[in-house]
């Protein structure tokens, strides 16, 4: 084998002032730099085997005993809402979030929440609003004992169909906003930017290759002096002006 040069020789050879490059086994001498790296690597793998990386996102509430921490107390907000906003916004903490709405029982959900009808659960699996949101009274999502409360949503709602759903699983956005809309930049920025990045890649590809395809087709289909005649026409047109 030829003499190793450059990085490899300087990495291993200079420690011991020997030319180890004549034999690959030189890498594995006890105490060689490479051998030490290998040992640490194996030790790391061993540690990973003993203490494997476990998914923790789904087990947060088990560790922190989330359920006992907070009682059914409505905490006062630091920045108070306007009276009109408060009238609507505070409903998310009420036991019956639709309490006192006029003609409530004669209306369907979509009458007041039209955007929420557009989701894959309804469109693909044919799931109705009530199958997740429950029967009357529908508690606000921030109400402590609401099944839709993020603390227990995964167990009370998602796990009805998705067995083993964790609280991280319940962070999936069922009522996904349209990623193309500018409003999504505020509500779900990652989706907005990733969507437009991918769309730009796709649009860029087609914007490059569709004209290319047409040009290639024309070049091969038309007589070979066609382009030259276009050029001549152009020159004649410029001269005539």
């Amino acid at each position: 084998m030829t003499k190793l040069s450059g990085r490899f020789q300087s990495l291993i050879g200079h420690h011991f002032d020997v030319d180890v490059s004549h034999n690959l086994r030189g890498y594995f001498y006890a105490g060689s730099a490479f051998r030490r790296y290998l040992e640490w690597l194996l030790f790391g793998l061993f540690l990973l085997f003993i203490f494997p990386v476990r998914p923790v996102l789904g087990q947060k509430e088990v560790i922190t005993r989330h359920y006992e921490d907070e009682g059914p107390v409505i905490r006062k907000r630091l920045i108070t809402l306007s009276p009109t906003a408060y009238k609507i916004r505070h409903r998310i903490t009420m036991a019956d979030s639709h309490l006192g709405l006029r003609f409530y029982q004669y209306r369907s959900c979509i009458d007041c929440h039209p955007r929420q009808a557009r989701n894959l659960h309804k469109m693909r699996a044919g799931i109705s609003c009530r199958q997740c949101h429950g029967t009357e009274p529908i508690a606000g999502i921030k109400h402590h004992y609401s099944p839709m409360n993020p603390k227990r949503r995964h167990a009370y709602i998602c796990a009805k169909c998705h067995k083993g759903a964790s609280s991280s699983f319940a962070k999936y956005i069922v009522h996904e906003p349209n990623p193309a809309y500018l409003a999504t930049k505020d509500t779900f920025p990652v989706l907005f930017y990733v969507f437009w990045l991918m769309a730009a890649i796709a649009a860029g590809t087609f914007a490059t290759f569709l004209p290319y395809m047409v040009m290639l087709g024309m070049r091969e289909l038309l007589p070979h002096n066609f382009q030259w005649s276009i050029k001549e026409l152009l020159v004649r047109w410029i001269k005539s002006r």
Binding site: P55, M123, L191, M215
Partner: protein, 272 residues
């Protein structure tokens, strides 16, 4: 007519497997995406409804990833490890080279009638782009697909809203791939004048020398100089095989055009 060998049997088999898997994934994937429309329901009914379609999409996807791993192993096998830096930057390699940029500019000049045809070697810049586009596409579609395969499991390692994002990445990348194959790839392989009615190189593995002299002059010159041109001469395939290749190629193209037109026509009724 002298035929020159251009693709090995393994390379052609990779293309065949990719082609069949891609069409299956396109049909099942579009069936899922358009399931709210009649057209999507028709596509799904071919595979036993929504859940049958889902199953086939998953299994063929896993098969495709396995085939991708085999392809990676094949690449490692083919690399000449002894003459390493030079061997993968040579003209026989599919890796991009500095010449490709200048050849692309010159080729576009040729399309406009402004310059001579470039001295293209074994691979054109467009073929290299196509190869790496598929490579990147399989990486993206495969990884997002595997994550989305079992959301309950994968959401233990990432917050659930990542799945919203990954589903969109999967969709747009798939639409890009389908659009590219059904419009641009099919046009270049079937409809352009030099290849009409079908470029057989990827199926019978050989190209006419006269055509190569026009399209890839540098490769022919290089083969002649090193004296391998004579060894590269291939025999013509039988008529039965040729008919089979035509039927296969046109069947896949018909499916592609059907999906393209159906997808565009029904896109107004689409619910994401």
């Amino acid at each position: 007519m002298t035929l020159i060998k251009r693709f090995t049997l393994a390379q052609r088999l990779f293309h065949l497997v990719l082609m069949l898997c891609f069409v299956t994934q396109a049909v099942t994937g579009l069936a899922r995406m358009y399931i709210t429309t009649d057209w999507g329901k028709f596509l799904a009914s071919l595979f036993g409804g929504y859940y049958g379609t889902l199953n086939i999409h998953w299994w063929v996807g896993l098969f495709m990833l396995a085939a991708f791993c085999v392809h990676i192993a094949y690449l490692f096998r083919r690399v000449d490890w002894k003459r390493l830096p030079g061997s993968i930057y040579g003209p026989d390699s599919i890796l991009p080279r500095p010449e490709d940029a200048s050849q692309a500019v010159q080729h576009i000049g040729w399309l406009l009638g402004l310059s001579k045809y470039p001295r293209i070697d074994r691979w054109t810049y467009l073929e290299k782009f196509d190869y790496w586009a598929v490579f990147w596409g399989i990486c993206i579609l495969g990884s997002t697909g595997v994550i989305l395969y079992n959301p309950v499991f994968s959401s233990q390692y990432m917050p659930g809203w990542i799945l919203n994002v990954l589903l969109w990445v999967h969709r747009i990348e798939a639409l890009l791939a389908m659009g590219h194959v059904f419009i641009i790839h099919f046009f270049i392989a079937h409809l352009r004048r030099n290849n009409f009615p079908m470029d057989m190189a990827m199926f019978d593995g050989s190209v006419d020398l006269a055509k190569l002299r026009l399209e890839r002059p540098a490769w022919v010159a290089r083969m002649k100089q090193s004296g391998v041109l004579k060894r590269q001469i291939a025999s013509e395939v039988t008529m039965e095989k040729r008919v089979l290749f035509y039927i296969l190629g046109y069947a896949v193209m018909a499916i592609g055009v059907f999906l393209l037109i159906g997808g565009l026509v029904n896109s107004t009724a689409l619910v994401w």
